[in-house]
Symmetry: C2
Subunit: 419 residues, 2 copies
């Protein structure tokens, strides 16, 4: 029998314990051995979790227990889990973690430390979708050209609702909070930080890029309105919040932001709380992976798949996909250098000369305009523009200048276009 210790017995931890019990027959048939959680670690020892697993509050009770084969780390945060994972690895144990924040900051240190022990993390990105194994093992013959992922269910739920029901951001946020799809403090999700952690993990596997959240462009969905979504619909786009990794020469651009995506693309069809990750490989072309990105059982499904891999004797190393670094290493593209097409919404005074003022600012910054649509709105007008490919820094400079024009009545809203 393989013995597990689970550090962090919250929703996912309880699901792991229960599924290993409920699906014991098929799991031991697949793994070749019985697998059981013999100990849990939690802070609150008085809480009834509906499981019979003995629970203590000192993680060393599992990481230093000679009887325990695999440590499953399901805590929140970064520094404390790091201590737990390090302790487990140093004690010669295999580790399974679902902790994206930990990996966003410390994945390369932990890979080095893991040595011959498995350190598996399928559940850290896109919940129940086996995207780590697919990208690392299934697409390993390819140079990855791009990854576009809907990897935050809260954002996708809210954008889908805004699209289908025409309701505004604040109303949907309240509803998402009531349904448990958004936290009381939703910043981590709707600000794009959760997606950024996941993107960094995917980017390591695809490109061997060691970047941290603060190195990359991270935008949320807070400024998106029904007007933007209606414009998108009208011009054949869906609005999606994406984590994007893209190879451009020997640079990799990494960014998290909302984007207008052509409706016909598979990723545009991923709705509600579901996640989807589209990967383009130079040889295979596009593949897409779809499924639930969160939830106790779906996340536990991924955690247990890692446990079964380890019990089967499949060492999951190279943890991040590379046995040795690439000869020609790729480097992170500076945020300013990222190129994109842009959609821009401006509230302007409805008077002559305004459009001419605006277009001259864009021209000055080498930004070429595609579509222009004007809609009256009382004494003002909403101007909707789309640009051709432009550099982030030029676009930002142009928007700053435009914001200070007397005829512009509100902060311009910008959404990138991805196709």
């Amino acid at each position: 029998m393989v013995k597990l210790g689970v550090v962090g017995v919250g929703t996912v931890g309880v699901s792991v314990i229960k599924i290993l019990e409920e699906n014991k027959d098929i799991i031991s048939a697949r793994a070749g051995k019985e697998i059981k959680v013999v100990k849990g670690i939690a802070k609150n020892l008085s809480k009834d979790r509906g499981v019979s697993t003995p629970i203590t509050d000192n993680y060393k009770d599992v990481t230093e227990d000679k009887d325990i084969d695999i440590v499953v780390e399901l805590m929140g945060g970064v520094e404390e889990p790091k201590e737990v994972v390090e302790s487990a690895l140093k004690n010669g144990k295999s580790v399974v973690t679902a902790n994206k924040a930990l990996l966003a900051y410390h994945r390369y240190e932990l890979e080095d430390l893991s040595g011959d022990n498995a350190l598996a993390y399928e559940a850290s990105v896109a919940g129940g979708i086996p995207i780590i194994k697919s990208l690392r093992d299934g697409l390993s013959a390819n140079h990855i050209e791009s990854i576009k992922g809907i990897i935050n269910g809260t954002c996708n739920y809210m954008l889908t609702k805004m699209t289908n029901e025409g309701v505004d951001f604040d109303e949907i946020l309240k509803e998402a909070q009531d349904l448990g799809y958004a936290e009381a403090d939703p910043t981590f999700d709707i600000g794009g930080f959760d997606a950024a952690h996941k993107l960094l993990i995917l980017a390591s596997i695809a490109y061997g890029i060691d970047a941290k959240p603060e190195d990359i462009l991270i935008d949320g969905i807070e400024e998106i309105t029904s007007e933007d979504i209606n414009f998108a619909k009208e011009f054949g786009y869906a609005v999606k919040h994406l984590g994007i990794a893209k190879k451009v020469g020997d640079k990799v651009s990494l960014r998290v932001h909302a984007a207008l995506v052509p409706k016909g693309e598979m990723i545009a069809k991923v709705d509600g709380v579901m996640n989807g990750v589209s990967v383009i490989g130079d040889k295979v072309g596009e593949t897409m992976y779809y499924g639930p990105g969160a939830g106790g059982d779906a996340t536990a499904s991924a955690v247990i798949s890692d446990i079964i891999d380890i019990v089967r004797g499949n060492k999951t190393a190279p943890m991040l996909g590379f046995k040795k670094s690439l000869e020609r290493g790729l480097t992170l593209m500076a945020k300013d250098e990222i190129e994109s097409e842009y959609y821009i919404r401006l509230l302007v005074k409805d008077e002559t000369g305004v459009l001419s003022d605006l277009t001259s600012v864009f021209a000055k910054h080498q930004i070429s305009i595609g579509t222009v649509l004007q809609k009256e709105r009382g004494e003002s007008a909403n101007l909707f523009l789309s640009t051709h490919m432009a550099k982030e820094k030029d676009l930002m400079a142009a928007l700053n200048e435009i914001e200070s024009l007397g005829s512009v009545e509100d902060k311009p809203v910008m959404i990138r276009i991805e196709r």
Copy 2:
């Protein structure tokens, strides 16, 4: 350096050789070693394949060559490749195959024979999509409730064209043949046999079911007309050709046929030559895998991913996903016992009493009718019916009886409804 011998140097074989060369840097970074095809085996030695690999015409030149580490089997057929794979395994080599027909008939024998050698076959189902690894390793914590796969690109291309352009079967078939999406003799694809081979492989991984093509229900798309597709559209369905595996109690129903699928489902959104496989696990819920199901480079991408797995030292056993068989084994449901909803199209005389005659036949066979739609067509009428859940044998008996009614002018057309 890891040395490969490729048996069968056709489109996929040439792609394998070329990709290992072109993507050498990233492949050796991921695998930890250089990988090279050192010998090819082909029947026609005079053909120029555009590769410099030495080619001979005796497979034993690779299976018995002590210098060769991995044998890649990319031939057509069943018996000859079986001989090659057996010879390679007996000589202690790891084997990678893309041969679905071979596995549809001999996967359990070959699993037994493989012992401690890897026998990998990612490319045998859905081309470049890593569905084997996802199902076997990524979803291993789950009882699989169902698999619904668009796993034949020819069928999906034709049905998509018929749907979008309203063109008829024969015209599209000719076009698909001209484009190389359909063979000169298209029976193997459009008759459902290719999809059946793939379904059997997936069913083994999901359920441990040892069935052969002749044991399961296999239908093609030959009888589908624009009228059926229009009915489907009108009632919110897409027509897709599916391989379906479904667990019902301790039985598994396996079947390949066209089906009306609700438009909102992800699998209904998989268009053109692309493949998609939706898998429902009891814990994870639905995940879906999308990508190119054929083509030299896409298939080679999957073949090479298996090679890299082997070189990394990840033994891919248990080949079919189970280290030991399930205590409570599942068995194949008899074709007759399969239950489904059905769509039925009947060309009938436009006269009184016809509907009453028909409905009494259905009632006699315990088939309850849902929707009825009648469209005049000269002196006849097209009747479109949908049924509630009914047993295959009852439905077939009813259709046989209906065909012999004087008021029915043509063989009834039936398409199953899957939701």
